[in-house]
Symmetry: C2
Subunit: 258 residues, 2 copies
Amino acid sequence: MPDTPQSVTAAVLVIGDEILSGRTKDKNIGYIADYLTDLGIDLCEVRIVPDIAAEIIAAVNALRERYTYVFTTGGIGPTHDDITADCIAEAFGVAIDEDPRAIALMLERYRPEDLNAARRRMARIPAGAELIENAVSKAPGFQLGNVVVMAGVPSVMHAMLDAVAPRLKTGAKVMMETIEAADLPEGIYAAPLSAIASSHGGVSIGSYPSFQNGVFHNRIVVRGKVDGQVAAAVADVRAMLLGLAGQRVRPQPPLPEK
Amino acid sequence: MPDTPQSVTAAVLVIGDEILSGRTKDKNIGYIADYLTDLGIDLCEVRIVPDIAAEIIAAVNALRERYTYVFTTGGIGPTHDDITADCIAEAFGVAIDEDPRAIALMLERYRPEDLNAARRRMARIPAGAELIENAVSKAPGFQLGNVVVMAGVPSVMHAMLDAVAPRLKTGAKVMMETIEAADLPEGIYAAPLSAIASSHGGVSIGSYPSFQNGVFHNRIVVRGKVDGQVAAAVADVRAMLLGLAGQRVRPQPPLPEK
């Protein structure tokens, strides 16, 4: 999606075998999605790749060309499977070395004699990158070009996102309004909803069934960046649902349609 | 990753604006990851894309060429934003039309007079696809070539995955063993762990810090497809950790290293 004056875009790249094997359940994607939406940055794509250099490099290069920002999580610790920083340097074709600024930050936590070779790996930063402070455990993340490199541990990632957020370019925020369709089946309101979606420019309208505590529930979500457009579409959806609820003679079993 | 005789690979493609906006937190990726690992299928990549035809088609085509299987979730309901089936047909360059087999399945749930145009959209199946039964709400998923198309609602997706699993080719299962490093810092064991990883072929070894209830915890995971190889690496990791714990004179604060 090309940027428009109103639109700042992003991709998230999750790096880690542990997510793909199912051993660790990702908690970062949803957090970053909410965070970027609140900032006015549109998350357009997510990829999860294994701890394999060629895969990481290819994904970084594909995503950084397409979106305003790429946010990576994972692979910046001290162990042999932490290869993200080297991959980012290779993706950009720049050198990577121990960064005195990163060493200085780490010395706020470690005594010099405890800063062994493994820990010093966490101070390897690609040439030209800006550091991102890590209020939790000091070893920093970094930003190189439009790629923001963060830890995979959620609490550390949260601290890094807070640290980098003030530097990010942001666009118009997406407003989102949810309208309860409750147990009214999607198949009943699909045609009039489609007509409403076609007649309202500047908004996207989605219909989302869910199943909670043994009950199926439908919700309609209107999203857009212009308040009046969202409000107008929401009013039409509400009026349509009220009309249908009034007409409904034979209740349908509350089952999902997807 | 090319297939080897032992290796059957997969990608997951999650389709839906609602995941990218943060409004809905994905619960399908982790479920499918566990399910495929149990079957002996290696999940190698995940992508999340919006409800935009060009994005869906490009991702389907990129992934289906690379992996044994692609599993998609989302976008097969009756509303205007459900465009997955049409995108799959376009990705494969085949026709799509109402499928009498799908209509027959849906008539197990709907009276003929209730099978309106919107619901009949759920019976649109690309030419040449096999149907995947949906025990929850009848509207089927389908498999076309190596692409398995499933619902986004978790309970429906689970039923479809159960229905398709017996047809899937499977490979050697990955065995995974977790070794607790507890509060022993990664920076202390990183060098010997790297040496163990280098000296054990056929296994991958990862180190994963986590933070739960205010306490940081490190775990080492050994993964491989040959029992003896996994067991040998695990034994070396355990011996290494025991040795380090014995040597440890000055306890480190239990903080994460990533």
